[in-house]
Symmetry: C2
Subunit: 281 residues, 2 copies
């Protein structure tokens, strides 16, 4: 192919950068691909960066030097995040979710790829700037959420399991206490799934007392891994939280089965000082 026109180059570079968040792409790769001077490529990148950051949807980070290049960091501006969370809390407040026993049906939300993508971008914004080697969750409902976050942070996902499976090889197992029912459960993580000393972000769909999250933290300790942060989609009040530091998107404060009313508030993500780093005014 001949030298690319600027218009075609802009479209193709945008496509490539968006498809590979956090991947450092050397400028030479672009220069060779488009048979263009590095100076033209730099001008293109400046245009892309300006559009992304004006829209609050991310930025391009340039790394100088021989091993340098450009990297796309996805973000969401606070205004858009508030819109997403307003829609989420509205959906959570729908009384049709109430199941016998006061449980809430959430599987529709966790199957909604558009919502998951928005939530993934929100958590990626909250935890941008942290070095994250892996994202951990627990089967089953946390998995879509963890993968949505991971796709924006370009990190692998590891899954803790309640039952030992033959397809996991040797595992490390800890005991967890479910805070609400005081029931003991075993939680396992395949030895192969995580390198020692990894920096890990924990993501889950729901947290009450935090027994499951604490179980994951205990597992990570067994791997000499470090917890970078904890993000949950929905939290619900508990007399005593086992985990103090976490980011939640929504809080379900009350489920009134008789009146068929669910009270939902915004989670703590905007009040977790310093973690919402990208504010667009």
């Amino acid at each position: 192919m001949d030298k690319w026109k600027r218009s075609a180059r802009l479209v193709d570079m945008t496509r490539q950068l968006l498809a590979q968040p956090y991947r450092l792409i050397p400028l030479t790769t672009f220069a060779e691909r488009y048979k263009s001077a590095k100076s033209s490529i730099s001008e293109d990148l400046a245009i892309i960066h300006e559009v992304f950051s004006n829209e609050g949807s991310g930025e391009l980070e340039t790394v100088a030097g021989a091993a340098g290049g450009v990297r796309y960091i996805p973000r969401m501006n606070q205004e858009r995040a508030r819109e997403v969370l307003r829609a989420l809390t509205e959906q959570l407040a729908n009384p049709d979710r109430i199941l016998p026993g006061g449980f809430l049906y959430l599987s529709d939300l966790l199957g909604d790829t558009v919502l998951l993508s928005d939530i993934g971008r929100i958590f990626a914004t909250v935890f941008a700037g942290e070095q994250i080697d892996a994202i951990m969750t627990v089967e089953t409902k946390g998995i879509p959420l963890a993968h949505a976050v991971a796709s924006y942070l370009r990190a692998p996902v590891v899954i803790a399991r309640y039952d030992y499976r033959v397809t996991e090889g040797s595992v490390v197992t800890v005991n967890t206490v479910s805070g609400s029912s005081r029931r003991m459960r075993q939680l396992s993580l395949s030895k192969r799934s995580l390198a020692e000393g990894s920096r890990v972000l924990i993501i889950d769909d729901f947290m009450k007392a935090g027994g499951t999250v604490q179980g994951m933290i205990d597992l990570l300790n067994e791997f000499q891994a470090e917890v970078v942060g904890v993000g949950v989609m929905v939290e619900s009040p508990a007399e005593e939280k086992l985990v103090d530091s976490y980011v939640s998107l929504a809080t379900i404060t009350q489920v009134d089965i008789k009146q068929r009313k669910i009270q939902v508030e915004l989670g703590n993500l905007f009040t977790q000082k310093g973690e919402w780093k990208h504010e667009k005014s």
Copy 2:
């Protein structure tokens, strides 16, 4: 904001289209956003379409009329798909995957967000052109794969579960026979998760005789739902397959525990006539 420059418009439209596969966006939405004439927008879309289709990474489909607009259809060209599958089969053939009993460790692949994204795009290409209302999988390992496909097809994911969970509400349950062990297991799907008459694509990580896939098909029958297709990442030979029509990416033909050798071949996806619709020559 003032009228946008073409360069900024191209970057922003590319970003918006890529983020919303299969969503029909009216041209007026773009014209208003960029304060530009529809004719300019159409020219921009033509440039984007040309770049996407030259790279075999998708196309823009224009729908005429009052309810019309433009829609991004993600694809992967066959050359790139073959590269992805070559890398996948190489990874599958790594003897370190062999677990006691001849089982294979696959969780690293199913936690690899970059690989999953490629596989998602491949299945989205194979099943492009089908009307798909939902993507179904079974817990646990099929979930990341199903979500990867769903994100390119903009469809919700529903998850069949082996055990009844209180958070699923009323469920429909069927019996499945695991082809290899002849063991009976119950498979359930929440009644709320799927509307009657839906057109459903089944995605799973591994298939031998196809007992689990058959269980999902039985469940779908209970919902008067239609199976649009079946896609599995890895298949392995079985004396008798319960499912005849499926698309596989890789076939594990032999696992030799003593010699520590895994034989892997390409799956049937390129031979499933007519299903690989987007060939770039």
